[in-house]
């Protein structure tokens, strides 16, 4: 593409001009995804930890299901959430379709399985190590859940950051349930889709660059967290 260099320099200019529309979009993306990840943490962590320590029939099946949900196509999630929130859907009366809340819900559906599955993995490993010691200290299976979650905190932060990465980079689900409405539900990824379809490659590229920047920042945080874990001897290996 002969225009790549010029598109790219226009993109860089857009970022450094500090275009306020652009930053409003970035901010909304961050808000939606941060909020979605926090809710996913509140649901996914206890579920994952419970699956790690509890023993009941069908547990293996649930774990397989949860791992499969991790790779669920976002568009399908978007469609399902749309059908729920649509006026003719069961939750239509809540009037949530085409709001940031709808996007948060879709992202929660996408991210919770990731958080739950990673939490289960981490906590199960830790539970194996801690099991006899905790029983010796008189801690019941149920009471061991918060202990394990807390002691796995660094690995869990990594899991949350992984979930955040999926949430913020996702377009298929949020464009369906958010509607990509200007100033209301337009986030980075839906803007990229829109601007690409308008052939406005510079703005799309600028947002893409910011997304990549966020991805790099998130990964830097992951590696900083695990570095700290190593220094403190908190590594679970």
């Amino acid at each position: 593409m002969q225009g790549f260099a010029s598109e790219f320099s226009a993109a860089v200019a857009l970022i450094f001009e500090g275009d306020s529309e652009l930053w409003a979009i970035v901010l909304l993306s961050l808000k939606v995804s941060v909020f979605a990840v926090l809710i996913s943490a509140l649901i996914g962590m206890p579920v994952g930890a419970a699956l790690a320590v509890a023993r009941f029939p069908g547990r293996r099946m649930l774990i397989v299901l949860m791992n499969a949900l991790m790779g669920f196509p976002p568009v399908v999630v978007g469609l399902l959430v749309y059908l729920m929130l649509s006026r003719s859907g069961p939750l239509g009366v809540l009037e949530l379709l085409y709001t940031p809340t709808a996007m948060i819900i879709a992202q929660v559906v996408l991210v919770t399985p990731i958080v739950a599955a990673l939490t289960r993995q981490v906590v199960e490993m830790l539970a194996e190590e801690y099991s006899e010691q905790l029983r010796s200290l008189g801690v019941s299976r149920l009471a061991s859940v918060p202990v394990l979650l807390w002691d796995a905190r660094l690995a869990l932060v990594t899991a949350l950051l992984a979930g955040f990465g999926r949430a913020i980079a996702e377009v298929g689900a949020v464009i369906i349930v958010g509607g990509n409405i200007n100033h209301v539900t337009r986030v980075m990824t839906t803007t990229i889709a829109l601007e690409t379809s308008k052939g406005n490659l510079a703005l799309a590229l600028a947002l893409g660059a910011i997304l990549i920047g966020i991805a790099i920042a998130v990964n830097a945080m992951v590696s900083a967290v695990s570095l700290r874990a190593e220094q403190e001897g908190l590594r679970h290996a």
Partner: protein, 271 residues
Amino acid sequence: MFRALIRAAVMALGLSTSMVSAEEPFIVVQSTTSTQNSGLLEYILPWFEAESGIDVRVVAVGTGQAIRNAINGDADVLLVHAKPAEEQFVADGWGVERKDLMYNDFILVGPKSDPAGIRGGADILAALSAIAAAEVPFASRGDDSGTHKAELGHWSAAGLDPTDASGAWYRETGSGMGATLNVASGMDAYTLTDRATWLSFGNKGNLEVLVEGDPRLFNQYGVILVNPEKHVHVRAASGQRFVEWLTGPDGQEAIASFRLEGQQVFFPNAQ
């Protein structure tokens, strides 16, 4: 660390409530990508919003999806361009009344090298026949949109069924107009597009306008208020006000004053 997380959660909660100001009245308009991508809506809506205080939230999808969403009750107003489907929508009771709003026109664009040799023609059927005969790449929306429906109509009027060549020279992108133009630009294919999207499209590459001006290429837009008898939650008063504004002198004038690269592309024709 968890305390910090919780503090962040509370903060986000506070922010999220301020994300949407529920006080301000608004309507949801299901529309097509052509009206949004061209910038028309962005251009005329501020007038209406200033006058009425009603925030217009536009969801731009293909005409087929826009109609289905409206049937589901997820719109107050429908603004699309597929007259038979719109009339069916009203006949089935989903819409109150269909009103002509404006028209624009379709154009056939293609690579400058023009391997099918159709440049300068004004007969869309002849041009499509030439493309089919030459078996040169043609990018179709393939997404049940108004443009797609119009394109299929022209093929069948020419007595052709390009879907026989689907995957060969006939490429169905299943995407919006812009995405399809990107595909055409990338593979030097012909494609049918509305003029507005074309003029505002930023990645024309090797493409240029080859066929235009055939009366059959005129593209009528209609506007419909979703029937509040079918969906009680429809914001009928605000929606009606928007429809009236669009089809009234102020809206029609606003549409007429919209320019792309110095050209008028939407021609108001409400009665």
